[in-house]
């Protein structure tokens, strides 16, 4: 099985995993291990300066030799906010990689395409390696690719919805249209969703809630690892064409005649 390469960097796994919403840090660490991932996302938030028990920096738990870090701009509604958040992330984490998220509203968490394109342009000019979370819209994806983004990350379904790949045909068109890696980001609910996306030929999947929110996150992380490997292998193997009528698999010659 071939490896995922983004912006010249080779990854061991085709699964990118979010670090949010696990029952506890220990379960998160075990789930990350079980998923086989070597690329994880984090968020940038204000430091709690009032109490010592504020949200701990996740970087105290993460071995950066083992995991590459992809900071996101989650929660940003404008290009301005997203650009500043990405710049803060670069300073805090010493990485110029960013998962660019500019959302349109709180209910759907769908991307705001005009703000996304604006932010992507500014961040690319500022030397960032930009991986935009975007709609499953081939034209937006092509624009992002033409601009110089390192990958496009169309959603399969709304963030955290677990609805799977709602428009596999668009994902397939996006895969056909552009030359940079396509990562399905958001929407995966269970292993078959991940396998289906990989069978469409996408290069990887980014997920968080599907693992963190499962009844048994570590088991689900293992399931996702296997599903992504299986889906990728099936894609590389080249599936048989679908046909309406049967085609015997056993030879017809040499049948005994009564």
């Amino acid at each position: 099985m071939s490896n995922l390469i983004i912006a010249g960097k080779e990854f061991r796994s085709r699964l990118i995993v979010g670090t949010s919403r696990y029952p506890d840090p220990h379960t998160m660490m075990q789930a990350l291990e079980a998923s086989g991932t070597d690329f994880i996302t984090v968020s940038i938030r204000r430091l709690n300066l009032k109490s010592a028990d504020g949200q701990e920096s996740i970087m105290n738990m993460i071995d950066r030799k083992k995991y590459s870090i992809l900071p996101n701009t989650a929660g940003c509604f404008t290009a301005k906010e997203a650009v500043l958040t990405a710049q803060l992330a670069r300073e805090a984490l010493e990485t110029n990689w960013v998962k660019l998220e500019v959302i349109g509203d709180d209910e759907t968490l769908f991307p705001d395409v005009t703000e996304l394109l604006k932010a992507a342009e500014q961040l690319l000019a500022d030397g960032f390696i930009v991986l935009p979370y975007c709609n499953d819209d081939p034209i937006t994806c092509r624009k992002l690719a033409d601009m110089g983004c390192a990958a496009v990350m169309p959603l399969g379904a709304p963030i955290g919805s677990g609805m799977g790949i709602r428009n596999p045909y668009n994902i397939q068109i996006i895969r056909d249209l552009i030359d940079i890696p396509v990562i399905v980001d958001a929407g995966v609910g269970t292993a078959s969703d991940a396998a289906l996306a990989m069978e469409l030929g996408v290069d990887g999947i980014l997920m968080n809630t599907a693992i963190a929110g499962a009844e048994h996150p570590v088991k689900m992380a293992t399931a996702m690892k296997l599903a992504i490997e299986a889906g990728r292998l099936a894609f590389e193997a080249g599936r048989i064409p679908k046909r309406l009528y049967a085609k015997a698999s056993s030879p017809v010659e040499g049948m005994i005649n009564s």
């Binding site: 919403r21 940038i44 996740i58 710049q87 300073e91």
Partner: protein, 81 residues
């Protein structure tokens, strides 16, 4: 000039907004001293500081002076998807 109601402006202090909250600090404070005070002894590792929406690299904190009504953000990485 308009000042936050709850904060009395005194001659030797200035108002600074830190992570969305207005506080009064000594005038002529440098960003490096300000960050050190806010962190109350914690190591300034894995954090980033923005002053009025501009990133100030750690190497420049010492030469950056704070001014009345400046807006400072101190952030770090947390769990995220």
């Amino acid at each position: 000039m308009i000042y936050h109601d709850s904060i009395k402006k005194q001659s030797d202090t200035m108002n600074i907004t830190i992570n969305g909250e207005v506080i009064a600090v000594n005038e002529q404070m440098k960003l490096s001293e300000f960050v050190e005070l806010r962190l109350s002894g914690k190591e300034p590792r894995g954090i980033a500081v923005a002053l009025n929406d501009m990133i100030i690299p750690k190497s420049k904190w010492n030469e950056t002076a704070l001014n009345e009504n400046d807006n400072v953000e101190i952030v770090h990485a947390v769990q995220g998807g």
